[in-house]
Amino acid sequence: MTSPNRGGRLSTLAAAYIIARRDFAASLFSRSFIFFLLGPLFPLLVGGLAGGIGAKVQQNVETPKLGVAMNEADVIAMTRARSELAGKLNQGVPDLVEVKRLKPGESFDPAAEMARSHANLAAIVSGTPQAPVLTGPPDRIERWQGVVSMMAAEAAGLGPKAYPPVALSKTATSTADRNSSRVITAQAGQVVLFLLTMLLAGMVLSNLVEEKGNKIIEVLAAAIPMDSVFLGKLFAMLAVSWVGLSVWGLMIGTVWIGAGHSLGEFPAPAVGWPMFLALAVIYFSLAYLLLGSLFLAIGSMATTIREVQTLSMPISMIQLINFFFASYAMSKPGSAIELIAAIIPFSSPFTMIARAAQSPELWPHAVAIGWEMLCVAILVRIGARLFRTWVMKSGPSGGNKRRWWHRPAAVAANTAAKAGEGLPAPHH
């Protein structure tokens, strides 16, 4: 071995790197990372299953039908007219069910028949093609009023004699479609950003509590600045998330392209896909650093997972409100509400990623990123300070967890010292 160590110490960044490297490797090669990678599959799986079941249920439910109760000739005319129109209007014409062929002079009560009938009748058309009467629930008869009128006109020979063919000239999209699609992209961006930041901030928090449980925190505190521990943990999880994002991107991209699709088939964001994805990574990183700092500061105060849950609950709720606020602001582009949502640090990343999907200007992003970086720097600093203050004041067997009746009477007076100290207490 070499000669004894002469001294010195690691710089904050060098020490943070050691912590980050350890945490990164430990997270990457853990079972929880596999679950982290599989995480997005679960919502897809659940969504797919729910969608499949829904479709099955939908298929099994009979489609609403229109009943017809007229004299024999009119019933035949209405049925023929329905067939004629169905060829032209595609799915817009309801199925027609013959309820009754009325004899001359026979009276008929459609409302009574609607109540009695076991068929899946949504409404009944009675009277004559010249004067049809549509009976049914208000929303249904209002929806079918037009099509029944056309059907009756056709049956009465009052409809158009010919339907000129319409030549179809397809465009990729329209302004209305584009705006609508961009809203979807914006919403998707916000949701993904929110879920990811919450997931990762939660992971960094449980990582810290686990570390306190391992009692290694005191070894770290004795050797390196606590700021390094804070920064190391924060950035290690960020690096882990980038790996996760890369893996997800690669997998989804491979499957998508393998299936013969291209990115162009997605609703394109206003800033274009490359810029949108770059901004998404930046905003995600900033959102995570903001929330992660907060969660780490909280984690330094907690000693158990239960305490972590209790302490982090208000933050999670506030973050949820921020997310909803940003979602609301998305529907008010250019308004004061959007500006406020972009200024509040915790809603800013969600607001701005939605803006990137909806609006092509880039300068607001430069401003927002600068502002958020400033907020991150301030919050990381405050978080590190809180962390440094609190992390050595609590522990799984912290002094404040000790009970006086477990202590020898002669040192009862000094128990308060340990309790105040709040450091892991001796066990003998």
Partner: protein, 330 residues
């Protein structure tokens, strides 16, 4: 009071006898929520010494060590560790084994040692190499590739101990190093501490077991209720108690009995009493002249336990006894 910050940086401040000091603390105070856990602690730990901080649980030992290591800052007082007022500036030259042992359960034994070394500035590759070597040397070669979670508590404790020493620190601080170790491993640790001191490493450890301190330490600080009523060589602590005299006489009575000190108590043919301040010679003369017929006379120097009782008080000594593990009390 001497201002430590003004002391020369080369080496450390010397004590009254001119010995270079590895640690010097003056008037350290730490208060938690209004309770003073450490109340004006003074310590002078000579370089290369084995130094014990002796006291019952809750006496303020751990808080004192944590202040010396810079884990927590004192509310008042000055500390100087290996020539530095801020102990973390010299972190690479210090090894610390906290009372609450802790390692990452998923790490392999040699990696855990390397990681602890890396925290103290030892390059990882070198730490891995040394980690394997140390494990082999200490009979734990079979555990090199095992994860910490696969090791017994005692083995994990040994791995952490090796991790504390892997960067070859000049100062080693152990907080209750013997707790949780079986007798065999306690012996091994004592040997290791002696070997460290022989190499010139300063070792400071806290303990509530007087026997360890008595066997190992050159100097001790007795701490009770956050104060240090005594700090200095073990011999000086023991000399605080006057030696006990055990006298056996042929004669049962006579004029010689008037020469016995007032605290003399009979025990069969024996008398037990504290050696008078005037020394043994005048007493011997009086006993001979009084025809006591001395059969035997022994002077027993006080042990560290007696010194602790006298210095820290009965209550602290009782607490120390209660803190002992069951088997040691038996």
């Amino acid at each position: 009071m001497m201002k430590l910050g003004e002391a020369p940086m080369a080496g450390n401040v010397g004590d009254a006898a001119g010995r270079p000091l590895a640690i010097e603390a003056r008037g350290l105070v730490k208060t938690f929520d209004g309770f003073t856990a450490v109340d004006g602690v003074d310590l002078s730990v000579p370089q290369g010494a084995i130094y014990g901080v002796l006291g019952p649980n809750g006496a303020g030992k751990t808080t004192t060590l944590r202040m010396l290591l810079g884990i927590i800052d004192p509310d008042a007082g000055l500390r100087r560790v290996l020539g530095h007022d801020r102990p973390q500036e010299i972190a690479h030259a210090i090894g610390y084994l906290p009372e609450e042992r802790g390692l990452y359960p998923a790490m392999k034994a040699y990696e855990a040692i390397a990681f602890l070394g890396a925290l103290r500035g030892l390059p990882l590759a070198e730490g891995r190499k040394r980690g394997k070597l140390l494990l082999e040397e200490h009979g734990l070669g079979y555990a090199i590739d095992r994860q910490i979670r696969q090791l017994s508590k005692g083995m994990a404790q040994q791995v952490q101990l090796l991790g504390t020493l892997v960067h070859e620190p000049r100062l080693v601080v152990f907080d209750e190093p013997f707790s949780g170790l079986d007798a065999l491993n306690q012996g091994k640790l004592e040997k290791m501490i002696r070997a460290l001191a022989a190499r010139g490493t300063t070792v400071i450890f806290s303990t509530h077991v007087i026997a360890h301190a008595e066997r190992l330490c050159d100097e001790v600080a007795i701490i009770a209720g956050g104060k240090v009523p005594f700090a200095g060589p073990v011999g000086v602590a023991r000399d605080r108690i006057r030696p006990q005299v055990r006298l056996e006489t042929r004669a049962r009575d006579g004029a010689w009995r008037r020469a016995l000190p007032a605290d003399a108590l009979p025990e069969g043919a024996f008398w037990n009493f504290t050696l008078p301040e005037s020394g043994i010679e005048p007493l011997l003369r009086a006993l001979i002249e009084g025809e006591a017929g001395i059969l035997s006379l022994s002077i027993e120097r006080a042990g560290l336990h007696d010194a602790f009782v006298a210095i820290a008080g009965e209550a602290a000594a009782r607490a120390l006894e209660e803190d002992k593990p069951e088997e040691q009390r038996r």
